[in-house]
């Protein structure tokens, strides 16, 4: 699909939101295991050390990072900043660039 960058930025914000709605179940499950008992905390740590679990956590963090950065862009635009066509394109580009950097850093932190 050939779409302007602003459209991609908007669709990704939506898709990451839908993904996070599901991903929250994993995060609440992890919070449950982390606080239930010392044993479940230890088994959660062991579970999260597997490559597949790390990938899942990274995916959720990536969704969280993109959705947050795009959300902050919305708040900035609500203040009347970057509401022109050019400002919208620049904003979308900055959201993708900043998210990419933060997602890579999150990956480095996990591995």
């Amino acid at each position: 699909m050939r779409l302007p960058i602003t459209a991609w930025s908007s669709i990704t914000h939506r898709a990451s939101g839908v993904f996070l709605f599901v991903g929250m179940a994993v995060l609440i499950w992890a919070l449950d295991a982390s606080l239930r008992s010392p044993e479940s905390f230890a088994s959660l740590q062991e579970c999260l050390s597997s490559p597949l679990a790390k990938l899942v956590i990274w995916a959720i963090l990536a969704g969280l990072i993109y959705h947050s950065v795009a959300g902050v862009k919305h708040l900035i635009m609500d203040c009347g900043i970057g509401e022109t066509m050019e400002g919208g394109r620049l904003g979308a580009g900055l959201v993708f660039a900043l998210s990419a950097v933060l997602i890579v850093l999150a990956g480095v932190w996990i591995w």
């Binding site: 709605f21 449950d32 919305h74």
Partner: protein
């Protein structure tokens, strides 16, 4: 179309504000949790953190914000794509069924979190 009947605040402006307030609370909460995790935790310190009343209140605020934020966000997505205009009556039925399932899921998220915070 019965889209307005299932919006969060029954008003676009109310939803607009609720989406921003809940978003800011969620961002603050995830930054807080991220900071704690980056500082390093073991079971004792993690448990002690969540034993504090203000952390319980902040966590409850976050999960309630999540419920409102997800409801408004998914309402926006569903009322754009699953509509009578897009797919006839099926659109309305499918959208409302999904909204019921989303509502139940968010209710479970809230009660589950309350149990984690005050039950252990």
């Amino acid at each position: 179309m019965v889209t307005a009947a299932t919006s969060y605040g029954r008003s676009g402006v109310a939803d607009w504000i609720a989406q921003r307030v809940s978003g800011i609370i969620l961002l603050a909460y995830f930054l807080f949790i991220g900071y704690v995790l980056l500082s390093g935790v073991d079971y004792a310190s993690w448990k002690a953190l969540f034993a504090q009343t203000w952390v319980k209140i902040f966590s409850l605020m976050a999960v309630l914000s999540l419920a409102a934020h997800a409801w408004i966000g998914l309402w926006s997505v569903l009322t754009d794509y699953l509509t009578e205009r897009m797919m006839g009556t099926t659109g309305n039925v499918l959208r409302l069924v999904l909204q019921v399932l989303i509502g139940i899921t968010l209710f479970v998220y809230v009660v589950w979190t309350v149990q984690i915070l005050w039950g252990y």
